[in-house]
């Protein structure tokens, strides 16, 4: 697998295969980020496609100095979601309907347990402040570094550090409360 920097340079030079490779490299993680933000699988699928079309538009202006490609791509996704939420009546919704079809062909009991876990985490994330939620998703589910997360959402590393601390605390609290309710 080629490093992003090589692919990006080729993509900026008009190499269509490099653009395809960038898509292959990042589309699943971008989808998961978008999915957790919008809470709707089908919408997330559509928006993921839009992220890469925007990437194509913006590629000529990308400069690697100070902004790693992955963070830049997440910035595009972040911007697109801001735009999307604004158009959807100015709000960043969390879908109330969490019943979604999931693509998995695993053992039924394992799949069920996994669904429950994902649902639980999604419910807990819903209770977390919007910005903290985004930081949690980017840092711990999408695996971005502190610096990449900061660049992706346009905040300082210090701010992200604080947000992740408060976000984890809120998430832990919510998960603990939910567990207590289940035990009762």
């Amino acid at each position: 697998m080629q490093p992003d920097s090589d692919l990006v340079a080729r993509a900026q030079g008009g190499d269509v295969d490099a653009i395809g490779a960038l898509y292959d490299e990042h589309h699943v993680s971008i989808f998961r980020y978008v999915w957790l933000r919008v809470g709707d699988r089908h919408l997330a699928e559509d928006l993921t496609g839009d992220v890469f079309l925007r990437m194509l538009d913006a590629l000529p202006s990308y400069r690697s100095v100070g902004l790693p490609f992955r963070a830049w791509l997440y910035r595009i996704a972040h911007n697109l979601l801001v735009d999307h939420f604004r158009r959807a009546n100015h709000h960043a919704p969390v879908a109330l309907d969490f019943v979604e079809d999931r693509a998995d062909g695993n053992d039924p009991s394992t799949a069920t347990a996994h669904r429950l876990l994902v649902d639980r985490v999604k419910r807990a994330l819903r209770e977390v402040d919007i910005v903290q939620r985004e930081v949690i998703i980017l840092r711990f589910i999408n695996g971005l570094s502190l610096q990449e997360t900061a660049l992706a959402i346009g905040k300082s590393e210090a701010a992200v550090k604080s947000l992740q601390h408060r976000g984890l605390a809120a998430l832990r609290q919510t998960l603990a409360e939910e567990r207590e309710q289940v035990i009762r």
Binding site: V82, L96, S145
Partner: protein, 418 residues
């Protein structure tokens, strides 16, 4: 500092150290946070719809091939070809990267602006600059010709400019200057793009005046807008000049705000509502200030202090109960005299609900908008179009109400069979 220690342990965890090793010596409550992070990292989320991913890849490759054959001529608006109208509008997605503060002096102004200068006026503030790198994703090939102008990049429906004592249609590409006034009709919208790529989007039935305009990027930016009525969205590009200002004035209320991604609405009864998508807004009136954070909103009634911000709740779901209390997507929403219900949704319909949380945790719906009729609530008939109004059509003698959510094919004219 706890945050630094947590980050240091998280970095070790990400580098492959065991959870136990990373947690060594940490207070129990911080160990819990580390555990939570590790738990999040272990979650396997579902993959993509393989067919959709392949389709998108093919589309991307097609677009890339097309692009590589294009000449240096201005790009067509690709968004217009996208299937979802939301993107066809072609506005910007703007990352908001700086915090803005302004203290207003007028008691009758809602203001959103940059902070007062704490360094020599006009001097760029280079602190934290790595994070003020802004990646504009602009879908319009238009741009304001100079800092003292703005360009209309998107119009829908009736959009007019007040010129020489009368209202005239305003077309995409029209350049505006300070002192000019712009308004939209029902079911209409317009987007103004400033020189620094900040933008203001007017919703339906909105009226704004550009009071002052100097959106330069090589010095303090000045944008002052008076919003008489309607709804506007504002996306303000970060400025490295602390003396920069971006103000939105409304006839009711005054404000000093932080934040660069926000929505301002002014109702016919001159009630101002400010909601924040990113950053923070400090709304001031009657010598009282409230801080509105992302996800919150405040309301300012003429002559009253801004209401305490409330957290917004919103979402989409199926209606299973209507009345004083609605049940939407399994959650209960109280309604009151301020709740606006659009589209006459019924049980079984799919709606969007926007509301806020009361202090006691109960949800109150501010608006409930029909998005999709349940199959059982739908009807169908054919007829000849006899009249086509903005709010209602007559089809073979029957009155059909239309709204912003009505999907209408293009090209339909009076006399057509629909």
């Amino acid at each position: 500092m706890n945050e630094d220690r947590l980050q240091e342990r998280l970095a070790r965890l990400e580098a492959g150290e065991s959870l136990a090793a990373c947690a060594e010596g940490m207070p129990p409550e911080e160990t819990e946070l580390l555990n939570t992070a590790a738990r999040m990292q272990s979650i396997e989320l579902p993959g993509r719809d393989v067919r959709r991913a392949a389709e998108q890849r093919a589309n991307l490759m097609r677009a890339a091939r097309h692009e590589s054959h294009e000449t240096a001529a201005p790009k067509p608006a690709r968004r217009a070809a996208l299937p979802r109208p939301a993107l066809a509008l072609g506005a910007l997605a703007v990352a908001v990267l700086a915090v803005f503060v302004l203290r207003t002096t007028s008691p009758s102004v809602t203001t959103i602006a940059d902070p007062p200068a704490t360094n020599p006026a006009g001097a760029p503030d280079q602190t934290d600059q790595p994070y003020t790198q802004y990646v504009p994703v602009v879908n319009s090939s238009l741009s304001a010709p100079d800092p003292r102008s703005a360009v209309l990049t998107e119009t829908r429906g009736v959009v007019e400019v007040f010129s020489e004592g009368r209202w005239e249609p305003a077309q995409v590409g029209k350049v505006f200057h300070a002192g000019q006034r712009l308004r939209t009709g029902q079911l209409s919208s317009a987007t103004l793009l400033f020189y620094d790529r900040s933008q203001t989007r007017l919703g339906p039935a909105s009226d704004v005046t550009l009071d002052a305009l100097d959106a330069r990027i090589d010095g303090p930016r000045v944008v002052q807008i008076t919003q008489a009525v309607g709804e506007t969205d504002h996306e303000v590009v970060a400025s490295s000049y602390r003396a920069s200002r971006y103000e939105v004035r409304t006839p009711a209320g005054s404000g000093a705000s932080k934040g660069t991604s926000f929505h301002v609405s002014v109702s016919a009864s001159l009630v101002t509502r400010i909601s924040v998508d990113e950053g923070m807004v400090a709304a001031t009136h009657q010598n009282a200030t409230v801080i509105v954070a992302a996800g919150q909103e405040t309301t300012i009634h003429a002559g009253s202090a801004p209401a305490q911000p409330v957290f917004r709740v919103w979402g989409e779901g199926i209606v299973t109960q209507i009345g004083q209390t609605w049940r939407i997507g399994g959650l209960e929403f109280a309604t009151d005299e301020d709740t606006v219900v659009s589209g006459n949704p019924q049980v079984g319909d799919f709606v969007r609900v926007d509301g806020h949380l009361r202090a006691d945790g109960t949800r109150v719906a501010d608006s409930i908008v029909l998005l999709r009729r349940a199959v059982t609530n739908r009807f169908r008939f054919s007829g000849i179009v006899e009249s086509m109004g903005e709010a209602q059509w007559t089809i073979s003698g029957r009155t059909v109400v239309v709204s912003a959510t009505t999907s209408i094919d293009s090209g339909i004219e009076t006399g057509d069979l629909v």
